[in-house]
């Protein structure tokens, strides 16, 4: 059942902020099941069109890989702007 009152739609900044916070903690995966090697994450960051799409899918349900990927992207961003 939905609320009759129209709620304010979430804006993009809130959405990505929530997404980063949620994905960084929601899927601990301590046994690192199905995790790709670091080199695959780097390839995804630097050459996404050459990367294996299943690596990107894995990030949707593995917080350690998601966090590592965020670090790689942050490093890439620093190198590009620096």
């Amino acid at each position: 059942m939905r609320n009759n009152k129209k709620r304010k739609e979430i804006n993009e900044e809130e959405f990505f902020g929530f997404a980063k916070s949620y994905l960084s903690e929601a899927f601990p995966n301590p046994q690192r099941i199905d995790c790709p090697p670091d080199s695959e994450l780097t390839r995804l960051a630097e050459h996404p069109r050459e990367a294996n799409p299943s690596v990107s899918q894995h990030l949707t349900c593995c917080s350690p890989c998601f966090n590592r990927y965020m670090e790689i992207l942050a490093d890439l961003k620093r190198r590009k702007t620096g």
Partner: protein, 185 residues
Amino acid sequence: MAAEGSRSVFRLNAVDRRGRKIEPAVLEAAEGIYSRALEHGLKLLGDPAVVTTALEEVAATVSRVIKGKDPPGDLAQVRDLRAYMFRAFLRHVNHLKRKELALVSLNEAGKMAEPPWAGALRELETKMLLDECLAQCDFIAQDMAWRRMQGFSWEEVGKIHGLSAHAAEARFSHALQQARERLKI
């Protein structure tokens, strides 16, 4: 409800609570993701029995989807069955939680100006929107999301995919809008 098996693998039933059969390969995948599914499901649903039942229902649904493929039972069309199962489970758990929160909202409606469930419902809807968007959008839209989460501008995101900033933003917005429409949020 599931049965206890070996120490390393939790055994699920080969039929769900509605009597729908679970294909052996799907059952194996469901058992493989059980520990992670349980950990995540408990945060939202709180009861291991409910979470296990939910996983069995998802496995039965996935079995039917795979049987309906051409040729029937062709697993090759599902690139990564365990990842597919896990995402299907997330969406099912979100759906169950949303129903639960909607019932709370009906019971509490009109009692207070700012009811405590409003924040929880909004957060759950955002989570559902995110799960739906990431599960259904294409690889490029997904890649755009990762980069935006890390503070890349639309211009930087577009450049990587050979698009203008505006085209990149429009492409992701479209994927998000489609997810909203599917969820009716």
